[in-house]
């Protein structure tokens, strides 16, 4: 799960074209809340010896995202943080995540969100699957597990599909999977006692020279704020005047 700048705030870039992660409040990417929720539901169905570990790569403040997952009900938290990771692209992010997943121990399921709400690439789950040599079942709107079998429904561009795979695998979930729970007071108190580790690149055996802005395989050349839209014409409907004005506008713009 990812810690991202709040989408409803005024998001900006730094002068080096990286995302401003200091000036804007961050939070657990909303789409990753759905991933945490599904992981918890799968755990609840599977029984007591199943554990959910929340993993997040990000700056110090990203700990908040890990804490939120623990409050929701995850059993363990892992925060991967290292100055050298700043400015990483998806390739490097997936490398660090893959190493963290390996170090965290053998997992049956790696559950991700369908996309982050900042970069929004939707490729990290597939990259992770590729790096770990695992199957991926992605963009789930409905999830069913039975023993080591996972079946999901997903809404593709041209068809609705059922995809199946055998654990271990990488799963990504959409916001169609159902609302995520809010942390309860009990959950918030319990979270304080749960194990939470912070790992550096050295802990993961990742070379600092393989991650970060300077070695990214993509380079942002320029970021430009969209010019503000010039205020349009707004009319108030009275006795059908709205429909006439709308029709006139559409005709003037040659849409009719």
């Amino acid at each position: 799960m990812k810690y991202v700048p709040d989408a409803t705030a005024d998001r900006q870039f730094e002068s080096d074209n990286t995302v401003d992660r200091v000036g804007v409040d961050g939070l657990l990417s909303e789409l990753d809340e759905y991933a945490v929720e599904q992981a918890l539901q799968i755990k609840e169905k599977a029984g007591d010896d199943t554990e959910v570990t929340a993993v997040c790569i990000g700056p110090e403040k990203a700990l908040d995202a890990v804490r939120k997952a623990l409050q929701m009900g995850a059993d363990k938290g892992i925060h991967v943080s290292d100055e050298a990771i700043a400015g990483s692209d998806a390739i490097a992010t997936s490398l660090v995540l893959a190493k963290a997943v390996e170090k965290a121990g053998p997992a049956d399921l790696i559950v991700c969100g369908m996309a982050s709400t900042d970069g929004g690439m939707s490729v990290v789950p597939a990259m992770l699957a590729e790096r770990l040599g695992l199957p991926q079942v992605t963009f789930a709107s409905v999830i069913e597990t039975q023993g080591d079998q996972v079946r999901i429904k997903r809404d593709g561009d041209t068809a609705t599909e059922v995809i199946g795979g055998t654990m271990p695998l990488v799963l990504s979930v959409t916001d169609q999977t159902g609302e995520a729970r809010y942390p309860s007071f009990k959950g918030i108190m319990a979270a304080k006692k749960k194990p939470l580790e912070t790992w550096s690149l050295a802990d993961l055996g990742v070379d600092a020279g393989d991650v970060g802005l300077s070695v990214a395989w993509t380079e942002v050349e320029e970021t430009t704020a969209r010019p503000p839209r010039t205020a349009g014409e707004i009319v108030t409907d009275e006795d059908g005047s709205g429909a006439t004005a709308l029709t006139e506008f559409l005709a003037a713009k040659k849409f009719i």
Partner: protein, 317 residues
């Protein structure tokens, strides 16, 4: 000149429009080569279409070993084609499937990946529209073969005949790639209206419809438009998810977007903010959607839309 590989997006051999847009982009970067992974029986028909839109070469990868599995085998096939052709770039449509193939391919090729480009120029230099359309970013790949996924409507298809030489390519697919299976697939029902992401005009409805989409559909049909919906309308079960516009739905970039009974939340804006002309009908004169519009009507969509539809139909005669 180097080849540029374009992965063909198709449904059973029917080439989808975004692929033709990629061919137009490929021409700016090198020699367009299309990669058709599909039924060998369809190759001739597909090749004819791709040739008409500028494909110099068409690599036909027979899909008997690939069909029925998720993206990993397609990524393997592409990897082998890249090894054979050393292309200047690989272009893929920004669909769920396209992005996943691109993600796996990037790791296999140790190449940088840029997703959701809305323009690609010589270099290749890409343009992305990020943060719900509030920023425009130009970027390039600095390592390996540039892999770029491109959103629909990023270019206009260009009819111009390429050589269209068909070359069969046999990909070696590993067992490891055949681990996620497509158990069932239900093609989307045709609505008789233009496809949402390809339409020149989109008319959308939100919670303000109260579940009655007739005024939306009436206006859409008068304008020859596609119908869209907000997540609130989809979550209420009024419209299928495939109609949803926004961050977790479709991104649309039409000439005209008409939002009705939609407040304009950031996640909705993320999917429509780059529309050329934006019109809204909303009861609440303080709805945030009005910040974006070229033209807005403060009023009840249930009266404004049917009346406007009638006037439009009259004008059309």
């Amino acid at each position: 000149m180097s080849e540029v590989l374009v992965l063909v997006d198709h449904v059973d051999g029917a080439v989808r429009k975004p692929t033709l847009e990629l061919l137009a982009i490929a021409k700016r970067l090198g020699e367009p080569s299309a990669v058709f992974i599909g039924d060998a029986g369809k190759t001739a028909e597909v090749a004819e279409k791709l040739k008409a839109y500028g494909a110099e070469k068409i690599y036909a990868v027979e899909d008997s070993q690939i069909k029925g599995y998720l993206v990993a085998p397609k990524a393997e096939a592409l990897q082998q084609l890249v090894a054979k052709t050393s292309p200047a770039a690989v272009l893929i449509v920004s669909s769920y499937e396209g992005k996943e193939i691109a993600g796996r391919l990037a790791i296999k090729l140790e190449s940088g990946l840029i997703t959701d480009a809305v323009d690609v120029q010589e270099g290749p230099v890409t343009t992305q529209s990020v943060f719900a359309g509030n920023f425009t970013v130009t970027a390039k790949v600095t390592k390996g073969t540039p892999i770029i996924t491109v959103k629909p409507n990023a270019a206009t298809p260009e009819e111009s005949a390429g050589a269209g030489t068909v070359e069969e390519f046999t990909a070696e697919i590993s067992d490891a790639a055949k681990t996620a299976q497509i158990v069932a697939s239900q093609p989307r029902k045709a609505t008789g209206r233009p496809e949402l992401t390809e339409a020149a005009i989109v008319v959308s409805g939100g919670r303000g419809t109260g579940g009655n989409f007739e005024p939306i559909e009436g206006l859409a049909d008068a304008l020859g438009a596609a119908v869209g919906a907000s997540r609130a309308a989809v979550d209420s079960g009024w419209m299928p998810h495939s109609f949803q516009v926004g961050q977790t739905g479709k991104t649309v970039s039409p000439q005209l977007y008409v939002a009705n009974g939609i407040s304009g939340a950031i996640q909705h804006r993320a999917g429509m903010q780059t529309s050329k002309t934006i019109v809204a009908v909303n009861k609440d004169d303080e709805a945030p959607i009005f910040e974006l519009v070229d033209f807005g009507v403060v009023g009840d969509l249930h009266t404004v839309l049917p009346a406007a539809t009638e006037e439009i139909n009259k004008r059309k005669g």
